[in-house]
Each structure stands twice: as C-alpha cells, then as structure tokens.
Amino acid sequence: MPKRIIIVDDSIFLIKQLTAFLEVAMGYTVVATGSDGNQAVELYNTHRPDLITLDITMPIKDGMAALGEIMEKHPDANVMMVSAIRGSEMTKCIKMGAKAYMEKPLLFNDEQFVQDFKASLAEVFDL
C-alpha cells in the first residue's frame, strides 16, 4: 500500500512541485494539501497520514505552531519541515519532534539533492 502524504504550504508552486516528486518518483499518494497551520492540524487529525510536510512561514498559524499541536496529540507523527528559513529554526523544529528538515528551493533536477531527499524520507520511514 503506498505511503499516504499530506503537504501543507501556502505556495501552490511548491505543492505542485512536491506532489509531482512524491507521487511520480516515490510512488506515494498525496491524500490532501493545505495552505496554513490550522488546516495542517485538521488534515492530520482527519487523515492520520504516514507523513506530513509543513512549511514554516504560513498565514493564520505558522508551521512551527502546527508542528507543536500535532506532536502534542500524536507524538509518533512523521513530520518533515520544508522551508526557506535556515539556521536556528531548523534546530528548534527537530527539538519539537520534526523528523526531517528540507531547505527550499527543492532542487529536483539536482541528483545530489534528490539522493539527500530520498535519504531523509528513508530515515523518516525507518527504511
């Protein structure tokens, strides 16, 4: 059964790019997408996916607040942060329970980046 993924990002460009990679290259199923932190929490509770990707800077509720709420209710959740923010925020997210952190832009035409991305997914899913 394919892994079920939720992507939450306020950029439709990023959602389109990430959906294409996860579905075509990885064979996963993107079951839902959202554009803010409230939607992230709601979608996680509804779908209980194998993985949720979260942007940090989003309207209404940011990705770190959503991460906190998801981890509080679902301590085993697989959360991957996907953000253009670098530095200390990355460490904070990992401490809060995110299992991986990918920096934007997602360079899916770069072989090394794709290898690293796949390695992060393997780590998240303990493959």
Binding site: D10, S11, F13, S88, K104, P105
Partner: protein, 164 residues
C-alpha cells in the same frame, strides 16, 4: 552576497540561466516601471526588512515557459522572494549585524514604496529574456529620526492630498 543569493534562487526555482542586467548598488528607492511587485517583509523589534521583486505581469508566461498555470507562475515569484530572503537573512554576517528577523508571507501589489531613511540594494536580473527588478531594504526601527521624517512626509502628503 545579495547578488549571489538572487542568482542562485532564480536559477534554482526557474530551472533556467539568469544574469545580472543592472549591477546591484546601494539605493533607497524601489525600481520603477514594473506592473507587479512581490513584497516579502521580515522583522524583529529592532529592524524591518523588505524584499521587493518587480516584474511585468505580461512577462510571466515567458519567465516560466514550461508552466501552463497562471496562478502557479505568479506564485513562483513569491517562492523566489521567499528563498532569496531566507538565504540573505540567515547569512552569518547579516545575523551578526541585525540579529534574527522573522519573515512574513509574500504578497503582491501594483506598487511598492521606500521611506526616506531606508537604505538597501537594488539591481536587475534577466532570465529567459525577461527582466526582474530586485530590491532589499532595511529600516532601523530604533531610529526615531527616521520615523519622525516618515511621519512628516506622510503629514505633508496628507496636506497635499487634502481637497480643502
């Protein structure tokens, strides 16, 4: 540094070559002549920054020739702003001078402005034969003179605009 961030981000997101068309230099005014501006603010209690990407809206299909969806093409400009800002404000030199600034989400406008005491960089790049104006400015929120001059500018504009 800013120029390097800009070129790297544009090449990565557009998956196309990009060149500097007008060298980046210190200036305090937003590049004129664009029909659409993508604006991305970031701030702390001490500093406010604003990244502005100016384009001709009609150039979007040429900037992203492989992307058929108009909304996605426009959104990609926001992602370019997001990545440039993310790279620049995370730079060690920037953080040592200004500290950590929390970025906001990008928004689009038909106009952009800078105030008298703002300072920053602006330049123009070209990709797929079409140009993009970029500007990054910083405002010191602790500088009461800057705020006072903005207030007096605003007051003068309000007086000018008043029908009396």
């Amino acid at each position: 540094m800013f120029e390097t961030c800009v070129l790297w981000a544009v090449r990565a997101i557009m998956e196309a070559e990009a060149q500097v068309k007008a060298p980046f230099e210190m200036l305090s005014t937003v590049p004129a002549g664009s029909s659409l501006y993508c604006i991305l603010p970031a701030a702390s209690q001490k500093f406010y920054t604003q990244l502005v990407v100016g384009i001709e809206e009609g150039d979007l299909p040429l900037l992203f020739p492989r992307e058929p969806d108009e909304k996605v093409r426009k959104d990609a400009i926001g992602e370019i702003a997001n990545v440039i800002s993310g790279l620049f404000i995370a730079d060690d030199h920037f953080i040592s001078r200004f500290g950590y600034l929390k970025p906001s989400t990008p928004f689009f406008s038909e106009g952009a402005f800078t105030a008298r005491k703002d300072w920053g960089l602006k330049g123009r790049i070209e990709s797929n034969g079409k140009g993009m104006d970029l500007q990054f400015f910083i405002r010191d929120l602790r500088d009461p003179a800057a705020l006072a001059s903005d207030e007096s500018d605003n007051a003068a504009m309000n007086r000018k605009g008043s029908p009396d």
